[in-house]
């Protein structure tokens, strides 16, 4: 992923999150948090590209604008891509989705669904 890899190189910082648990990039394949003081990649590029979404979408379920964190990443990506690829579509989301690449749509969808795990 273009922007992701750029940021991983660039944004390695010492994270001191509230849990005091950090992981180094090399431990990511282990699938669990590792207590460590190694530099952590802080990928604000993904947060940045997803930042536009929260201008309209919140977690409120009774909204005319769906709560994105109620969808799985795969479901979000499928829907987002469908908006992008329906050339006759005229809704706000059709007009927005055409501005994003499939790679960006994947990145945003995975990120927003990850948020829903928190």
């Amino acid at each position: 992923m273009r922007t992701g890899s750029q940021m991983l190189v660039g944004l390695a910082v010492l994270a001191a999150a509230c849990s005091n648990e950090t992981v180094s990039p090399s431990s990511s394949s282990e699938g669990e948090q590792a207590k460590s003081l190694q530099p952590v990649a802080l990928d604000l590029s993904t947060q940045s590209i997803a930042a536009s979404c929260s201008g309209c979408h919140s977690s409120q379920m009774n909204s005319a604008l769906p709560a994105l964190d109620s969808y799985s990443g795969t479901d979000l990506e499928t829907r987002f891509l469908a908006y992008r690829n329906q050339s006759e579509g005229t809704t706000v989301m059709h007009r927005i989705a055409r501005g994003y690449t499939p790679e960006q749509i994947h990145e945003i969808s995975v990120y927003l669904s990850e948020d829903s795990d928190d």
Binding site: T3, L11, S45, A51, G55, A64
Partner: protein, 424 residues
């Protein structure tokens, strides 16, 4: 946990921080940094909230003299008698609870060399990074006859609050058969579709409550935001209650008189019963004081970092910026507030900032239950904003009422989201 941890997962390990989904991080440099934000509107309030969630150990100060913010989006509905002003009002308690220090003073000076802000009580605030979200100010007398005292008689209602209520009350007090005049300055101004939404809502009020009255729009612009959609709606809903005059139709106003309630064009003196003057605008006053405005009166910025191109360590967001093709909208200000917070967090942690893709959505009401929209998608590579080709655009023309009603529902949901994003 069923999925394997990807590289992206790393950034969300640690504390979850609520709706914004941000990950706090800190470095030694970041925790000692002092960040000052001037202006508690959609841009500044969002930047303050986002920064504090991202950097819980960093001192984040928001300078805002007003205890209550009155939102401009949806304030046209208040003018049209369709909404209470209370629904437009937001306090800073939510931001304060996060740990942002609120300083209820007016920022009167900025010294970029010593990196200090002087407040109205003569105290000073030191900063490492300053974010200005100053909104707009009016160019008094740029339209002859429209000075600081004129809004009492000729409300602008372009900053929401008492002015919004004054225009509403004048419309309600007007006799049926009256003439309402709205003057529109040359672009750029805050909320490009705002005058035309307001015209729609006022025309709706006249049609409903004062059916022999009429609104005359005197426009300095030949083209405007969502123009074909507004014109379609006006022809359908308000043919007898709204007249739009372009510059070529003698729409350009050269002078107004508060005492005579008259707008003067090249060829005509138009007497009004109620006159709404949308004044020529520039960046909020503190921007000029800080030296971040250029000859246009607006603020040139590096679009990737939101840093002023004129002063180091000062970032500018929202309506005050030169960000075209991004419009001067609440959505833009909110998004720029988030992105500027990420930028400042990165810079004080000695991390680079990457360009991204940005979107904007603006809804406008054309009747109480129907709305239209415009969307843009942008990039901010190499310090410049640009449109993403093939994306964006306006609602379909000749659409069904169902589509227009759906966009009105979306607009109402958007307002709830965007105000919650900014104020909590």
């Amino acid at each position: 946990m069923t999925k394997t941890i990807s590289r992206r997962d790393i950034m969300i390990l640690g504390a979850a921080t609520g709706l914004l989904g941000l990950t706090p991080f800190a470095s030694h440099a970041a925790s000692k940094a002092r960040i000052v934000i001037i202006g508690g509107g959609f841009g500044g309030a969002t930047a303050a909230r986002t920064l504090k969630q991202l950097l819980p150990d960093t001192q984040v100060t928001l300078v805002e003299p007003n205890p209550v913010f009155t939102a401009c989006p949806f304030s046209n509905l208040v003018i049209g008698g369709l909404r209470d002003i209370e629904e437009q009002e937001f306090g800073y308690e939510g931001i304060q609870k996060l740990g942002v220090q609120i300083v209820a003073q007016t920022a009167e000076g900025v010294d970029p060399q010593s990196r200090t802000v002087t407040l109205s009580d003569d105290s000073t605030l030191a900063y490492d990074r300053l974010i200005l979200s100053p909104g707009i100010s009016f160019r008094w007398n740029a339209l002859e006859g429209y000075d600081e005292s004129a809004p009492e008689r000729l409300p602008h209602a372009w900053k929401a609050g008492q002015q919004t209520l004054l225009l509403r009350d004048q419309l309600q007090a007007m006799e049926d058969g009256g003439v309402v005049v709205m003057t529109i300055p040359p672009a750029p101004f805050r909320c490009p579709p705002g005058p035309y939404e307001r015209a729609s809502v006022i025309a709706n009020y006249l049609k409903t409550e004062k059916p022999t009255s009429k609104l005359i729009m005197l426009d300095s612009n030949a083209r405007f935001s969502k123009m074909p959609l507004f014109q379609e709606a006006w022809a359908e809903h308000y043919p007898d209650h709204l007249e739009w005059r372009s510059p070529s139709e003698d729409g350009r106003v050269s002078r107004v008189s508060a005492s005579e309630l008259t707008a003067y064009t090249d060829f005509e003196d138009i007497k009004a019963d109620v006159m709404n003057v949308i004044p020529p605008q520039k960046a909020g006053t503190i921007a000029e004081v800080a030296g971040v405005t250029d000859a246009t009166g607006w603020c040139p910025i590096n679009a990737t970092t939101f840093e002023s191109t004129l002063q180091q360590s000062i970032h500018v967001i929202g309506d005050a910026t030169i960000a075209s093709p991004m419009p001067k909208s609440a959505f833009s200000a909110n998004l720029q507030g988030k992105l500027c917070a990420y930028t400042v967090a990165s810079l004080i942690s000695d991390q680079p900032v990457s360009p991204t893709t940005l979107a904007n959505t603006c809804y406008s009401f054309i009747t109480p239950e129907t709305a239209i929209s415009v969307v843009g998608v942008y990039r901010n590579d190499d310090g410049q904003f640009s449109n993403v080709d093939g994306a964006g655009g306006i609602s379909p023309l000749a659409a069904s009422a169902t589509i227009r009603e759906q966009e009105a529902r979306e607009a109402r949901s958007w307002f709830k989201t965007i105000t919650n994003e900014a104020f909590g």
